[in-house]
């Protein structure tokens, strides 16, 4: 296996207030692969992505053992060097397209700006490219849409425009942060289907951030589950759903109502307590306060175990331990 396109190890982000948002995250996104980063609000999944793009808010500090993109070391890259990558070889789309599109400029002028800046293309070439990309994401009458303002588009259309804009310069990596959370279910399915098709056709690497295990199951090749700033489990998608190891992953899977699995009226599985805010200097397992299997030693450093090929998890329990749901 060649080197991962995006290779992150030991990523740490601490905010000025002393909150340790990301605590030693390791993620590897391979070329042509969709990697899902899944977790609940505040677990550090969005912050990890922003740290990769070097878009963290002022006051946040980032460090990492390794942060490489296509063989290039992002940690030592200058701001201009990073700006040359962003929107060009690595692009990002966000949850709420209305807040990431500029309301004062037309779709066309925002889309062409990216291309003219990074590729040095003429207005005409950039406009042709924008129309081509709008058609590529399934927008009919792209010429008309180029002249419209963001508020004239529906939520689903705006997200398609965002995707088209992100793909203007033919990036190798697309980071999508909850791209369908603000959309209706039918539109969500359409957008995800579009993303999956583009990923396949263009050979894109996609890092998809979501809280929705249904989305993970349907689009991901690999999954990393985050909790309290750490990747607590990482595996191929089939493997994660078939043999979840970390007590948090198991608990999370039990929380989701699955038609046919839990009879109506029966209680859902749930995880007691709430997601903790982790301060800098926190030691041990971040899940131990909510874990039914916590022991005193969980307050010390937790080992990362392997559970078969390309499957690891952060817990002192041995692989394929039985518990919560019997032999999993």
């Amino acid at each position: 296996m060649s080197e991962a396109l995006l290779d992150i190890a030991g990523l740490r982000v601490t905010f000025a207030g002393g909150t340790a948002a990301v605590r030693g995250t390791a993620i590897a996104v391979n070329r042509g692969e969709t990697h899902c980063l899944v977790g609940e609000s505040g677990c550090g999944k969005s912050v990890s992505a922003l740290a990769v793009m070097n878009l963290l808010a002022r006051g946040a500090s980032r460090s990492a053992d390794r942060l490489r993109f296509a063989g290039e070391d992002l940690l030592s890259l200058s701001d201009t060097g990073m700006a040359r990558l962003r929107g060009n070889r690595m692009a990002m789309i966000f949850q709420e397209p209305m807040t990431s599109l500029n309301p004062a400029y037309t779709v066309g002028s925002q889309m062409t700006e990216v291309h003219r800046r990074h590729k040095g293309s003429s207005r005409q070439v950039a406009t042709d490219r924008a129309a081509e990309m709008l058609a590529r994401v399934g927008i009919t009458a792209p010429g008309m849409r180029l002249g419209q303002f963001p508020h004239q588009l529906s939520g689903g259309l705006r997200q398609r425009v965002m995707i088209a804009m992100a793909l203007m310069c033919d990036p190798e990596l697309l980071i999508a942060d909850e791209p369908t959370t603000a959309l209706d279910v039918t539109v969500q399915a359409q957008i995800l289907r579009l993303l999956a098709g583009l990923q396949r056709d263009l050979g894109l690497a996609v890092l998809l951030i979501t809280h929705d295990l249904g989305i993970v199951a349907r689009v991901a090749d690999r999954v990393s589950v985050m909790y309290a700033g750490e990747v607590v489990e990482s595996a191929r998608t089939n493997d994660l759903f078939a043999r979840p190891q970390h007590p948090y992953t198991r608990g999370l899977l039990d929380c989701v109502p699955v038609p046919g699995k839990i009879r109506p009226g029966e209680p859902l599985g749930s995880i007691p307590g709430v997601v903790p805010r982790v301060r800098a200097g926190f030691q041990g397992c971040g899940f131990r306060d909510r874990c039914a299997f916590a022991m005193p030693e969980c307050a010390a450093e937790v080992p990362r175990h392997a559970a078969g090929e390309a499957h690891d998890y952060l817990c002192r329990l041995a692989a394929d331990w039985s518990g919560l749901r019997g032999a999993a």
């Binding site: 609940e40 609000s41 399934g138 927008i139 009919t140 529906s154 689903g156 259309l157 209706d184 279910v185 039918t186 539109v187 969500q188 399915a189 359409q190 995800l192 289907r193 999956a196 809280h211 929705d212 295990l213 249904g214 989305i215 993970v216 199951a217 349907r218 689009v219 991901a220 998608t237 089939n238 759903f241 608990g251 999370l252 899977l253 039990d254 929380c255 989701v256 109502p257 699955v258 038609p259 839990i262 109506p264 009226g265 209680p267 859902l268 599985g269 749930s270 995880i271 007691p272 709430v274 997601v275």
Partner: protein
């Protein structure tokens, strides 16, 4: 089960006037169009549909927070319009989506939960204090929470406060409008389980509005599907999920992404035309997006096909093709 439905809506209609902006002409938006339904006491009616389909407006009509433009709403057999507000509060209560917006940030939790009792004006201070403490304990909040402010609570705890406030008067009916949509998955399950326990314990009737079909399938006994202001299909939950008759219901079900790897993202078969409540298409209002529409759908409104426990509005359901 008593013969009087807990909620009965008869041909309810609600329109809004929107300003057309500086130069535009004012338009009329029909948010709820000729909706009739009956919710038997003790059951859970789930209402599903996309944003703008009128499900929240319907909830507000049933809560009496908005008057109907036409038609009427009966709660426990009594007409809502003209009903005394204090009396209404003892019958029906809401739980809203966003526990960050529905709790007064300047009031302490104990005062927020006590307010419905205080507003009734017939309870003594000591009795109010006792009832509040009991209810906070019942929804799973520690007693010291009473002195805290909403900002000190997590989303799940705030939703517990909203539920305690809704139940403090021991109403018969609770309208839950997207009660778990703002919550994390692990907390959503806690709140759904709590709502289910409380329903059994207090013999409540729920109107449960959600865009999450998996959640609705789990909690509802019967489901109504709304599209652009109308109920296009209604049936007992198992029937609706296993044998959907309306093409829109089928599209909604197809778009549910269950956590089953390997299935990929389904093709829901809908075009890119999105529904606009201010511009309702003629004939069947779903026809511009419908994958199986026939010529008649574009001009003739589909008939209502009603059986004892189910109803559907679709031309193809008549022909038996659906």
């Amino acid at each position: 089960m008593s013969a009087t439905p807990a909620i009965e809506v008869k041909s309810a209609r609600r329109t809004f006037r929107t300003s057309g902006g500086l130069f535009g002409t004012a338009r009329e938006v029909v948010a709820v169009d000729d909706v009739s339904l009956a919710v038997p006491a003790g059951s859970v009616l789930g209402i599903v549909g996309e944003s703008g389909c009128g499900k929240s407006t319907l909830a507000r009509l049933i809560l009496g927070l908005l008057p109907t433009t036409a038609g009427e709403v009966l709660v426990d057999g009594q007409r809502l319009d003209g009903m005394d507000r204090r009396f209404r509060a003892e019958l029906i209560q809401p739980v809203f989506q966003d526990p960050f917006a529905s709790l007064n940030p300047r009031r302490r939790i104990g005062d927020i939960v006590a307010l419905p009792l205080v507003a009734q004006g017939k309870f003594a201070g000591a009795e109010i204090g006792r009832k509040v403490a009991e209810m906070l304990e019942r929804v799973g909040l520690a007693s010291d929470m009473a002195g805290r402010l909403p900002a000190e609570l997590s989303g799940g705890q705030r939703q517990r406060v909203a539920i305690a406030r809704a139940l403090i008067l021991r109403p018969r009916i609770v309208v839950c409008d997207e009660p778990t949509s703002a919550l994390d998955v692990s907390v959503q399950a806690q709140i759904l389980n709590l709502l289910a326990e409380l329903r059994r314990e207090f013999n409540l009737t729920y109107l449960f509005i959600s865009h999450n079909l998996a959640v609705v399938e789990h909690v509802a006994t019967e489901v109504a599907v709304m599209y652009l202001g109308r109920i296009v299909e209604q049936a007992p939950t198992a029937e609706l999920f296993h044998a959907p008759r309306h093409p829109y219901t089928r599209a909604l079900l197809a778009s549910v992404l269950t956590p089953e790897p390997g299935l990929g993202v389904p093709d829901v078969g809908l075009g890119d035309i999105l529904p606009d409540p201010a511009n309702i298409p003629p004939g069947c209002r779903f026809h511009p997006r419908c994958p199986v529409a026939i010529e008649r759908c574009g001009s003739v409104a589909p008939p209502l096909l009603a059986a004892a426990h189910s109803r559907v509005e679709c031309h193809l359901a008549v022909a038996g093709a659906a």
